[in-house]
Every structure is written in structure tokens, then in C-alpha cells.
């Protein structure tokens, strides 16, 4: 009984993952801003690949363990990559348009202080 259900569950998970990946591509196409495009793409990376990887390993334990390894790695790295793209875009295009050249004006803006300490090319 349970073995008969497993392929259908795998089908449903594959279709769910494909739906989420399609929404990811559509969001990147639809959004006009880099930040909002990143919002669409980075969140759906782990969320869309998770069902695909789990569906691949439902009938084989080796595939399941290796898929979970890939999934854990993606969950760890996808936010970091998206944050690096957003940070690079902000430093290149948006920082110059800020008043006071993006420098922190008050001590409340502690995150920007840490950002300055990383270093800039000039």
C-alpha cells in the first residue's frame, strides 16, 4: 500500500518544485529593481530545489542523503550570494546618491559603521 503511494508523492513534489522555480524566473523577469529581483530569486532557490531533491530520493536512500547534503549547502549559501549581489549593487550605484555619501550620520546606524570598516578601493 505504502509503496504504491510513493511515486505519486514524488510526482507531486516534482510539480511543486517546478512551480516554485517557475515563479522564481517569473519574478526576476517581472521585477524592475535589482533588490526586488533578488527577493524573488534568492528565496525560491532553496524552496524550489528542496522538493525536487527530496522527490529524487524517495525510493533510494543514498540519493536522499546526498540530496539533503546539496540542500543544506544551498540553504547555507543562497542568502550569502544574494546579499553579496545586493551589497555590490548598493555600493556601486546607490551609495553615491545618498546624502553624506552613505556615511553614517548617527550612532544608531551601527551596521553601516561595520560596513565602512571592511574597506573601499580608494
Amino acid at each position: 500500500m505504502l509503496e504504491a503511494v510513493v511515486p505519486w508523492v514524488a510526482d507531486a513534489l516534482v510539480l511543486l518544485g517546478l512551480l516554485i522555480l517557475t515563479l522564481s524566473v517569473w519574478g526576476v523577469l517581472r521585477m524592475r529593481n535589482v533588490y526586488t529581483s533578488l527577493h524573488a530569486s534568492s528565496k525560491t532557490t532553496a524552496l524550489g530545489l528542496g522538493p525536487l531533491l527530496i522527490a529524487a530520493g524517495l525510493e533510494n536512500e543514498t540519493i536522499l542523503l546526498r540530496g539533503l547534503l546539496v540542500l543544506g549547502f544551498l540553504i547555507l549559501t543562497a542568502p550569502v550570494a544574494a546579499a553579496s549581489i545586493a551589497r555590490a549593487y548598493w555600493r556601486k550605484y546607490d551609495r553615491a546618491t545618498r546624502p553624506n555619501n552613505g556615511q553614517p550620520e548617527t550612532r544608531v546606524d551601527a551596521a553601516a559603521t561595520v560596513d565602512q570598516r571592511v574597506g573601499s578601493p580608494e
Binding site: L21, T22, T45
Partner: protein
């Protein structure tokens, strides 16, 4: 999974990869291009996971892991180099 779903999902992911490649080629800035490449790599990892399930072979996921690792390092390096002119 069933064979029909495997073929449909493969075709659909290939279509998504084509859209991602077009997005990468037509991007206005370098950072949008980096974002498009990351998107294409995500789709490729999904395709490799699909093949691992459909062909019942775990070796496809080794390639997927390496691809995800290279995409992460490449995105970090390209974004940092574009904004600051140096990687480290």
C-alpha cells in the same frame, strides 16, 4: 516518479534554463548578469536532481554539489570585483 512526469519536468526545466540564459544575455548591468547566471545554475541543479531521481543514480548529485559550490564562489567573486575593483 512516473516516466511521463520525468519527461515533462525535464522539458519544462530546459525551457526555464533557456529563459534564464536569455535573461543573462539581455541584462543591463553586470550584477543583473551575475543574478541571471545564478538563476541558470539553480535550474541546472534542479535538472541534475531530476535526473538522479529518474535514472536512479546518485552520481548526478555529485555534479550538482560541485555546480552549486562553484556558483556560490563565482557569484561572491564577481559581485565583489564589480563593486570594489578587487576580490579580497
Amino acid at each position: 516518479m512516473h516516466v511521463v512526469v520525468f519527461y515533462i519536468a525535464t522539458l519544462w526545466l530546459a525551457l526555464l534554463i533557456a529563459v534564464g540564459v536569455a535573461l543573462t544575455l539581455r541584462a543591463r548591468t553586470i550584477l543583473l548578469r551575475v543574478l541571471g547566471l545564478e538563476l541558470v545554475t539553480t535550474m541546472l541543479v534542479g535538472l541534475l536532481a531530476l535526473f538522479a531521481g529518474g535514472r536512479d543514480s546518485p552520481h548526478y548529485l555529485d555534479a550538482a554539489l560541485v555546480l552549486a559550490l562553484l556558483s556560490f564562489v563565482g557569484t561572491l567573486a564577481a559581485a565583489r570585483f564589480d563593486a570594489e575593483g578587487r576580490i579580497f
